[in-house]
């Protein structure tokens, strides 16, 4: 009789304990995956679902390609179950730190023989110091076909780490692939009319996009938030004589003064965000769809 009275209390206590500790147990069971840029973080989140805690620790106001993490962040990377890197010499800080190679996943390895090279160009962004765009072109994910391959590498790595969730990873990968291939189809459609037309880019980051869709693209070294000086405009006019572009791709919304002056030269500005860092709103796919919509707007 005495025990019978105590039983409901015991059950409630057990229930409370379960509610308190269950999320901790699930969190501890999750794979910890660190990535070097946002597209890879997005792909991993989509594929792993609840099976992984995906961390992309770069601050929102930096270009992850040229960011250098502090020692604590490097140690956090070292403790991850998987470190998803882009390859193609992206995130140069990787070559200056110690990371466990066996836990690193180079997502661009399947197409490493098709990397594009570019000539040495160096410049600075405000007070951020000089950085160089020499060597291998690294914005690999702008070719959705390559993005699919990168996602496949991530799925394989996750499966190796957690075989039990293989089915989930495969299902999620297929869903992501269908999204990326739909994006590819849409971009292919919109760029068909512009295949031979000269196009300009404010920054040398669209190499793989240009190769995928056969764009006749040439890059300058402008920053969206900085209005080019007169010497840059003079150089631009010269480029325009050789490469009579009607469109110019920007990584972010350019200064209105730059847009107006470009328009006066017969060049329309299009924002095509490579989305290397986490966007303020939306996600990778929504940003890419917005990019495609921008292209559609000007091509009409």
């Amino acid at each position: 009789m005495h025990y019978a009275k105590q039983l409901p209390c015991l059950r409630i206590t057990l229930l409370l304990l379960t509610l308190v500790f269950a999320p901790t147990a699930i969190a501890a069971d999750k794979l910890k995956v660190y990535t070097v840029n946002y597209p890879l973080a997005y792909f991993t989140e989509r594929i792993a679902g609840e099976q992984a805690e995906v961390v992309f620790p770069a601050p929102p106001d930096v270009d992850p390609a040229f960011w250098m993490p502090d020692t604590d962040t490097i140690i956090a990377y070292q403790r991850a179950d998987l470190i998803v890197i882009n390859g193609a010499n992206y995130a140069k800080w990787i070559s200056k730190v110690s990371l466990p190679r066996l836990r690193m996943v180079d997502t661009s390895r399947p197409f490493a023989d098709r990397f594009l090279q570019q000539q040495a160009t160096s410049h600075s962004h405000g007070t951020g110091g000089d950085h160089s765009h020499s060597g291998t072109a690294f914005t690999t994910w702008l070719d959705p076909g390559q993005a699919v391959q990168q996602a496949e590498v991530i799925a394989a790595a996750l499966t190796r780490k957690r075989t039990a969730a293989k089915q989930l990873f495969e299902t999620n990968l297929e869903e992501l692939k269908s999204n990326l291939l739909a994006l590819d189809e849409r971009l292919a459609r919109v760029t068909t009319s512009a295949a031979d037309s000269p196009i300009l880019a404010s920054h040398p980051v669209y190499q793989y996009l240009a190769r995928r869709y056969g764009l006749n693209l040439r890059s300058v070294m402008w920053e969206p938030d900085e209005v080019p000086d007169e010497s840059q405009w003079a150089e631009f006019v010269k480029i325009l004589e050789e490469h009579p572009a009607k469109w110019m791709l920007w990584e972010a919304e350019p200064a209105s003064e730059s847009v107006e002056r470009l328009r006066s030269l017969g060049v329309e500005s299009i924002v095509f965000d490579p989305c290397g860092n986490r966007p303020e709103s939306g996600d990778f796919l929504s940003v890419m769809l917005k990019n495609a919509a921008s292209l559609e707007d000007v091509s009409r």
Binding site: M68, I74, K96, V97, S98, P100, R101, R103, S122
Partner: protein, 393 residues
Amino acid sequence: MIDSLYIAWRYVSYNWVRSLTLVACITLIAVLPLSLELLLDESERQLLSRAESTPLVVGAKGSSLDLVMSSLYFGKTLPELISMADAERVIKTGLAQPLPLYVRFKARGAPVVGATLDYFDFRGLHIAQGRNLALLGECVLGARVAENFGLNPGDALLSSPESLFDLAGVYPLKMQVVGILEPAHSADDLAVFVDLKTAWIIQGLVHGHEELVNVTDPTLVMDRSNGNVTATAKLTHYTQITPENIDSFHFHGDPADYPITAVIALPYDDKSSAILRGRFVAGEQPRQIEVPGEVIEGLLANIFRIKSVLDAVILVVGLATVLALVLVFALSLRLRQREIQTIFKLGCSRLTIARFLGAEIVIILAASALLTLLLLGVVERYDEPLVRTLFIR
């Protein structure tokens, strides 16, 4: 019997110099081969346990012993170099994971082991003080190296030049000690660990210097053409890596061509191990692959051949000592002839006299056995450090 033992004890303690000499002789004869056996067993265990926990080692064709000793015990002999491409080849087989090692340089006499962080996981090495390697130019010390050099996290350690006569060689690198490992009771305790890239910096393959494009001193520039700037030898390379200059450190050439001394291959399973070994044996791979356990067993077989010679020598010496002891007892009986006659005249039978003499021998042998056991106990208690000090340096 007690009376006989008492009288024998009185005799033994009265002639204590003679008794002690006899005890020492017998003890030495017993302790030497037995303690050698113990130490050899322990050295075999230590050598084999490290070798057996290392599945496969890939290296340049040549002496398999040099390759294994360099990769496992960081021995002084430098095997022929291979490259990072060989580590890539191992991973491309899909049969094993590679742990590249570059054991070439020294710092104050201790081997500098260039490895990736995976090596620490593989060997189960843990940081006792400080933290693990994070940036270029940092090092983590084995427990005994830290103790011998009196270094702590935050101190600096200079790499040693490969040759004193290499005046035009690379500058020594001032490495920052960031961590001390817990004692592992293995060769890892005697090593200085750096990232592979730091080892290449010591060699001068990866280096940092003033940005050539911005150089104003004309004596630093040999040629400027087609966007390339060629520096003169006057251009100073940084000898310490700091947060201010770390960005200037860069690779020259293809990292796949960068040198290493060996690759520890970790096969996924026994089948993968067999297939991987088969590919090397069949000549599909231009390198040799060794099973460290087999190489060390071969080495130990040689050591045991030497040990059997040593055992024979000890046996002969032991026999000679036993004969000498018999002689000592026989001579002592002759010297004690008058004493024995006196005992006989006092009324003791010959059997009683024999019991007295037998009891003396028993006491001497018992004391020797006790001392032998004590010494063997000490050897067994300290066999691990003794082996590391005497055999595995």
